[in-house]
Structure formats: C-alpha cells, structure tokens
C-alpha cells in the first residue's frame, strides 16, 4: 500500500521533471511541424501541422552536406580514437617499460587543459601548416584523447595479467595479445567511449566554428548557427534545422543504447 503511494509520488516527480528537461525539445518539434503562416500570425496559431519548414530548409540550405561532414568527422574521430586509445591503454596496462607511470601522469595532466587555452596557438599552428578550412583541421586534433586512454586503461587493468602471460608462453606477440585478448575483452568500454566520442564530435561547436570557413566544409552545428544568424526571425525554419540535427543522435542512442548501458554497468562494477 505504502509502496504504491510512493510509486505514484515518484511517478509524478519524474513526469514533472521530464516536462521541464525535455520540454524545450518538444517545443522545438511543435514549432518545426507548424506551418509558417500559422507561426507568423499574431498570435500564432498552433495545431496547424505541415512539413513546409522542412521543405524550404532542404531546398535552400546545405543541411545534407553539413550532415555528411559531421558524420565524416565524427566517424573518423571515433574510429581513430578507438584504435589509438585502445593501443595506448594496452601499452599502459600490460607494459612494464621504464617511465610508464610518468608518461601516464603527463597524459592525465592533459585532461586538465581546457580546449580554449590551446585554441588560439593551435589555430595559428594549423594555419601555418595549411590545414585551416578543411575537415582535417577538425579531425586531427581529436584523434586521440587522454580521457579515453584513461577510461580504457582503468578497464584493461582489471584483465588478469596471467592471461597474456599464458598467451606469450604459447608464442603470441604483444600485438597478438592485444588483438586477441585485450581488444575483444574491452569491447564494452570501447563501445561506450566510442559512442560518447561520436556524440561529442557531432555536437562540437567552437573549434569547427573557428577553423571552417567554407560552407561546403561546415559541420552541422556550425551550419545551424549560421542559419540562425541568417534567418533571425524565421523560427519555424530554425527549429526544423535543429530537429534535423538532433534526430540522428537520437537514432544513434536508440541503436547503441544497449551496448552503452552494458559498458557503463561493467565499467562501474570493475
């Protein structure tokens, strides 16, 4: 009985919280699917649904191109990070070389450096090497992440060293140990950090905003912010753009959520 009431109360609080935190996105959807004429009226008439905003947007903008760019950047960074982070994490977890902990500490220290402090010199540096205004300028600085190495190493540390010792007695090389033991066993954490990386890259804003000048190289976030600047008052169009940017991430989450939750659970247990 008591339990039932408690359940009702928590249901109520959860519903209220959901309205507050998810509300803006619902409002985005409502606006995006309302016809432009109804929106322009004073007061606006809600409830007149149409796809007009999306039609105008897709006809005019470069949304498709920007989405492809965002996808290319996110996918390239995710793949590269998965490989480099896993390799490094394995090196730290299974290696016994001199200066291992010192190098690891230096890497950890890098986690404290905020992106903004290196932004300007990095920009000048990349300009010098002619990498500004291309997708490389967004991809390259992100292809390894100290945080990723840290996370994966924590996980790999829990893999018993005896396993790799046994494999080595059987004649396996270090690389084979990595390839056939550590890499597959670390799949849950690699999937989790991969999905996070993908989402982070998809949502990255400040750095692409600075380095990408040509519209054909814009990522979706940069493109949308320029769209906002161009169509200041056309909120229907803006919200349609925002919807198009948000939907792929929702799909990614839906699709991978099982792996992700599993990775988090295991990560937390170990």
């Amino acid at each position: 009985m008591n339990r039932h009431i408690a359940n009702q109360i928590s249901l109520f609080f959860l519903a209220v919280g959901l309205i507050l935190t998810g509300g803006p996105l619902v409002w985005m959807l409502i606006t995006a699917f309302t016809s432009p004429d109804a929106l322009a009226a004073t007061p606006p008439r809600y409830g007149e649904w149409s796809l007009e905003n999306f039609k105008v947007l897709l006809a005019a903008g470069n949304i498709a191109r920007w989405s492809i760019n965002s996808f290319v950047v996110s996918a390239a960074v995710t793949i590269a990070q998965t490989i480099f982070n896993a390799l490094a994490a394995f090196g730290f977890a299974a290696g016994r070389f001199k200066g291992r902990e010192a190098i690891f500490l230096v890497l950890l220290a890098a986690m404290m450096v905020p992106g903004q402090i290196v932004m300007l010199p990095l920009f000048l540096f990349m300009a010098k090497w002619g990498m500004i205004d291309s997708l490389w300028s967004v991809i390259l600085p992100a292809i390894a992440s100290p945080f990723g190495v840290y996370m994966v190493r924590q996980y790999m540390d829990s893999i018993p060293i005896q396993m790799s010792e046994a494999a080595q007695i059987d004649g396996a090389s270090h690389y084979q140990v990595f390839r056939h033991i550590y890499f597959p066993l670390s799949m849950p954490i690699l999937a989790t950090s991969g999905i996070f990386t993908f989402i982070t890259q998809w949502n990255a804003f400040l750095w692409p905003l600075i380095t990408l000048n040509s519209e054909r190289y814009y990522t979706l976030t940069v493109g949308l912010s320029t769209l906002q600047d161009q169509q200041m008052m056309d909120f229907g169009l803006l919200m349609a753009g925002a919807t198009l940017a948000a939907v792929p991430m929702v799909a990614v989450f839906m699709f991978f959520s099982r792996y992700m939750l599993e990775g988090m659970r295991k990560g937390a247990i170990q």
Partner: protein
Amino acid sequence: MSFFNEVRKMQRKQRTTWRLLLPILLLVVFSQTASAEMVLKIWDFPRWLEPGEKTDRFTWMNRKIAEFEKQNPGVRVELTKLTWQRGHEKLKIAAISGNNPDVAPGTVPLLYIRENLIEPVDEYLTPEDRNDYFPGAINAFKVKGKTYGWPWYMGGQLLYVNNEIFASAGVALPAEGRWTTEEFVSTLQQIKKYQNGQHGYYPLGVYFQKDETANLPFLMAFGGRLVNDEGRFCADSEDFLRGLGWINELKKQQLIPTDSGGRTANDIWTAFGRERRVAVGAFGLWGIDALKKKFPMNFSVVHFPTGTNGKNGAFLGTSGLYVFKHPDRERVKMAMKLAKFLTSGDNQKDLLHYTQFPTRSSAGNIYANDPHMTAAWKILQEGQSTYADSRWPQVDEELQSSLQQALLEKLPADKAMQAVAERANRILSVESGSMKDDINQSSLFAKIVAAISVLALIFALISRQAHLIMVIPAVSITGLFLFYPLADALLLAFRDYRIGEVGGYTIENFVRAINDPKFVKAGWNTLIYSLVVVPANVFTALVVASLIYGMKGWLKNFFRAAYYLPGVASVVVLTMVWRWIFNTEVGLCNTTLRWLGMAPIGWLTDPDIAFWSVIISGILKSPGGSMLIYLASMANIPQSLYESADIEGAGPLRKWWHITVPLLSGTTTFLMITGAIAALQVFAQVLMLTDGGPGISTQVVVYRVYTSAFRDFDFGLSSAMALILFIAIMVITIAQKYLAKQDVEYLA
C-alpha cells in the same frame, strides 16, 4: 617579412606534404581534384531576395557569377556565404591565417590595408570609371592617396514612422520630415497617451549594440560627436552627455522601453514592423523594402530630431568589393575584373531590390518612382559619414556596451562615458604596427616537446619495446595538439606582441586582463554559473536516478531513455530552442505571460535577468550522462544494507538519505569535478543567446577569451585570460581530487 606572407609561403610548401600524408592516416579523402582552371574565391554577405525566392539571399550573386564565368572561360568563381553576425570575424580569421578570399565585401577594409593585404584599384580604374562614381563614394575607399576598393552601394540609417499609429493618435507628421527635440518629445507623449499604457507598447524604440550606428544620431542631437577633428574620441563631452541624458529622460517618461539598453535591432524591428507595438524606430534602408513587401505598412522616413545644433545626424556609409593581394598577377587582374563587373553601372541597377543607392551615376536614378527612397536620399545627403579607423570596431564595442550600461543605469552616464573615452583613446593612441613576425616564432618550449616525442619514438623503435611503441601515437598526438599549443599559449600570454617588438616579455597582459571590466564581470558570471548550475544538475541527476532506480519494468526503461534522450542533442540545438522560447516579442515565455495578462519580461534583454536566463537554460537540461552513471553506481550498493534498514523500519526517504546518498558520494564528487570543469568553460549558450550583452551582463570567461582573440586580435590579452582560467580549473581539479581521497578514507 610579414606574418601573413610567411604563412602563405609555408602553406604552399606544406600543402603538398599533407595531401600525400593524410590519406594514409585516415580513410576519408576530401581533397579537391586539381584542374587547370583558375578558381577565384569571393565571399559575400546575404543580399536581397529575388522575386519568388523564400530564403536564398545569394541568387543574384550566383547568377552574376555564372554570367562572369561565361564571359571568362577557364575561370571558376567560388562563393562563400557569410552571415551579418559572424561574417566580419570569419573574414578576419581567414585573413590572418592566410586563407583569405580573392574578393570580399564591406566598407573600406582599413585593418587589411594596414596589414598590406589589399591591392589598390587605382591602376584598374579608367578615367570613365572615375567620372562615373559619385565623389563621396570613391573617397570613402581612399586611404593615403590610394583607392582600395570598388564602391558598390551607399546606404544609411533613417528614422521610420508608422503613419497609421500617428493618424490614430491624432498627431501630425513632422513638416518636411524635420522636427526639433521638443516637437519630437511632445509627439511621443501624445502617442503614449493614445497607447494607454498597454504592456510592451511604446512610442519609440531604440537600441545600442555593436556595429549599429542607427540610434547614435539621437545622442548627437545636441552637438555631441564621437570623434573630434584631431581624431580624439570625445563622446564624454558635455554635448554628448546631454544627448544621453535626454534619452534617459525619455526612458523615465516611458516613451522608450525601460530596458532599452538591452534591446537589439531585431527586437525593436519586430516590435515596430511585425507587432506594431512601437510607432517610431531607426533602421537601415532595408526597412523600406521590408515594410513594402514582408510587413506592409503605411510609413514615412523622416529626419532625426535636432536639438541645439540643428544638424541632421543620419549616418551614411559606402560599401564595396575589395581585392586581396596575391603573387599571381593574372589572378589579381581577374579578381579585379570580377569586382568591377559585379559593381558595374548596369549591375548596380539591381540595387533596386536591395534598397541601397548606386555609387555610379551610370546606374541612373533607379528610385524615381519611389517616394520613400527619394526622401531617404535627401535625408542622407545631409548626413554624416561613419568614422574610418581600423581600430574603430574595438572602440565601438566599448562605446556601445557603455551606452547600454548607462541606459540601464548600471553606471552613471558621465562615469560610463569617461571610462569609455579613456579606454577608446588608449586604443586609438597605440600606433599598433602590424601583428607580424613574432607570432610566427616557434617557441623553444614547443620545440622541446616535439623533440622529446621524436626521440622517444626512435628509442622505442630501437629498443623494440612493443608496449612503448603502442603508447606513442596517443601520447605524441596529445603532445602535438595539446602541449605544444599550451606552451605557445604560455609564451603568448607573456609577450607584448601588440606593439610588434620581437621578444618583448611582460606581465602587462595579466594586468590588462584583471583591469578589463568585461573580464572581471565574466569571471564573476562564470563563478555564479558554476556554483548554481553544477550542484543543480548533479542534484537533479541524483534525484531522477533514485526515482528511476525504484521503478520496475517498462516504466523504468521508458524514463531512463526519455531523460537521457534530450542529452544527446547538442548545446547548439538546445540554445536555438531557448532563444526562441526567450524571445522578447514572440517567444513562448512572453506569449504565455501576455496571455495570463502579465507584463512581459525581457528574458534576454534585461541585464538583470539575461544571465539568469542563461543559467535557466543551463539547469533545465537533460541529466543524461550523470543519471546513467548514478544508476550504474546504485546497482553496486549491496541490497543487504536496504534489507537491514527495512528490518529496522526505515522509510524510503530515510533509506535514501542515510544509505544511497552517502554511498554515492564518490560518484557525486566525480560528477561535481567534471561538471565544474565543463561549467567553467561555458561558451556556446552565451554566444548564441546574448552575445555577451546586454551591456556586459552576460560575459563569461571563454566568451571573453574568444572575442579578445578573434574579434579584437589581442592575442596576448586573450592568452593571459585563458591562462587564468586554466589555473582556476587546475586548482579546482586538485582540490577535488584531494576531497575525493578523503571520501574514500571515510567510507573505508
């Protein structure tokens, strides 16, 4: 050797190397196929909508480019679309990094001329051209005897009057469009009476923001000027202060919105053109077109009211296209040809759609049948031209934010203007050389970092340490893209490069940073933001996770997904939505308030509220990742603890407070650290919601770091501020790491 040329030279050398190297590194290749044709790059701002177009403001430009390509086989022209908000910034960034286009638009590009980046057009101007141009137009592009651009159109800002409101209120329009300040005020008072105190209804709307000169003539009605004949900034003069006092008086009588200092051109335009809550407002010439087509209105354009000096102060500006220097003479010639073609007399006839005035007499009187434009031309003829100085944008930013503060009564008017005069004159007095040379010097520190990486790699390869080799890619990438620039940032922060002296080290940048009122405000704001938003977010995550953890079956899965999902949307998307919700005139919040019969709130325009709106948008977001981490940690709490608590008869709340919360304290600390680090770097929300305004009320540290680097090009100051932020983050991280350690001991 200037920095820019150096960069360009290097680029030509390096580009080939990268093209060869990178495809091996990654799978996707986005390089352009090389071809024999010449590719000219032109950047342009959005212009007019051609008949039948709904969104694309570049159709004219694209059509003209196609014509040009047809006339000049072998030439391809690539258009980059700029926005009015960030276009100038983008162009600056591109120019400094050597990625500038061949042709770019704007008023006389003084900054680039100083940096020796612009090709003079004199040798390409025929005598016919010179005769064809209106003298004022060509003079606007003259610097030290040379002409640096092809004048395209002239425009300006005027006072617009809604005739319908005037008629309904029974007030007459000013005779011949001229009025004195007294006549102006009494007209506004009559309109005020007619509007009868409705919420959001005002006789006049004004706005003061960066790059907007539209409303400055009000302040200059009593003879005040921005810059005197000696080139000194003098907006602290008595005459100017009188103008400011006069506007403040209008505010006290509620003839303009009480939060006028925070209003943007967009707000006032919406209120005037779309919602018609405002009867008079100052806008650019584009308003004439908009009031004929998009928001049809019976309107007039009139002179600004004149006070004691009897002069009309409307601002007149000339825009054109200019050509960047390039070692390839043929390319420059072709770029000149393109710029000349686009601004030819024939093509200027199309300015009819843009409601701007031609700069060539051969375009003819394209507005003969347009009474509004004819009146506007007469008014602007008596106007003043904008002050031309490459340092003006920086002064303008100071000026406008001080005006905002004075109007919002954050500062007394005279104090605000004296402060801005002092800063402006300092900016104007520094004969800053070009920012060349020494940015380019690679720092010793940075070289050492690179050398160590290489040595380690060689060592690892020689000693055949497989593990070490595996570690090296990640470490050297971090070294290259993090430690190397970090070292550079350290040096930039201590370098006095603005004056252009190589090798001068100073702590002046830090002194300037802590004396910069915007940075101080930014520091406080960032602190408040972190102190409010981080605990709120973590607490929300904890409560939501606890509630969801107690759920069963599909409800649990549903809530977990529903709470997490909004978190995958980017901050850019969410901020766009918040901007729409907070919009003063048509947003959800104020529409609801009006519907409830309450006074609308200036969510983003009232300086006392704007930052709290930013904070609200920070709090009301998905607890996403934190919630998942809490859920995972909760699964690790031994069930037996709850069972024994059950036996002792503890209620759910007590169990939560005495078991769940303390056992999760490790997770809480972790989330607080990561949350604080993220919150200290808040940026995108501010950039997109308020752009740091109104006044300086929503400045945050990273925003200030960004603007001082990429808007003001003050790299030393920017790096110094970034370094201060870095130290703050480091202190917090270390402090919290220490706290976390104590926690563990306590639990054990």
